[in-house]
Amino acid sequence: MSNQAISASGALTFRAEDLAGTKILARAIASIIRKGDVILLLGDLGAGKTAFVQLFGLELGVSDPITSPTFTLVQTYTGKLTIFHADLYRLGGGQDVVDLGLDEQADEGVTLIEWGDVGESVLFPDYLKLTIELAGKDETDEQPSCEGEPISQVGEPRLFNLEAVGASWAERLREIGLSEVEK
């Protein structure tokens, strides 16, 4: 990942052509992850948030299947680090998010939060904001891209927007070396 792709605000965009590309990103982020880190995952339904967490978990040596936490709100996995996988989709507001107590356990592992925008303003001062969008063909011509296969097999091009909020991530994003960068 060339430094030029990083804007002054510490944001960059990564294009993954398929699942292998997403894996490269997951590995790069896993290589700089620290205990206490928080990653917010944004993107429409089906954008691939859970799929990213699955790949990220594999990089951290999680052997249990990582499934969607939408209903359970928070799921915990053990790998090289403890992973707290949360999903705020069902939650209506900041107070609900505060009630989850994610911040109280965040120091004990890595917290990945799907639909994290709900909690953005109330939870954490320092985090990586990862926005995923499908970057396939022209939207209007798009065929139903998925014939019902498990998400681990979905291989559409995706754009990952990485935004560092707070000091620690901006610095680290410069350290990771990915090559498939779009300005």
Partner: protein, 238 residues
Amino acid sequence: MSPTLLAIETATAKAGVALSVDGVVLSSWWLAGGNKHTESLMPAIEFVTDTAAVSVSSLDAICVDVGPGLFTGIRVGLSTAKGLAHALGISLVAVTSLEVMANPFRNLEDLVAVIDAKRGEVFWRRFSPSANNLQSTPERGVELGALSTPDELADEITQWRKEGDNPVFVGDGALRYQRELGIEAGMMLSPLFSNPLPEHLAELSNRAFLDGKACSPELVEPVYMRQADARVNFEMRS
């Protein structure tokens, strides 16, 4: 009346239990730095009552710290307290964490208790003749304390000093942000008192109990203090 009280303190990372009769603590236990409140609390209650040779059936009330502090800890303590109080048919005495921490120093003229609220914030309350006294409880009023950033509290402190006041500080929040808050070493109480302790909860609650401030377990709620207004429109999510 010489009340027999069981005090449950779980509002911060230092969790503890104390048993007192007539305001005198007979036995107590605490564990620092643990986040195993759910696991350790009931065995601790059993230990504290057994070692004091007091049967839970002779308890007059359960005393509990309702926060502010750690959400999870407060829920464990309050759920345990409610379960015990209901099952024993006795009432609850609820006090706040900042009162508990200030309690051993109630003879000091001017004290500020500061609890680390995490996420770069602190819960704090000033105990001085010019502020308020130690008597208020959650069900009686709003004297719960405040939630601020260290910078905001530092501004308050600067203001107090301008007015000629120089309070003493206690609490893990004051220790953590000592430099930001500009607290001189001589104005900071020992780290031993940096968390609310079960013995102090028992002692404070004894006075509250004698003042008739015990209540039905259903009426007691945690003090969270942290408010969040951000809302997301469900229908926008697709």
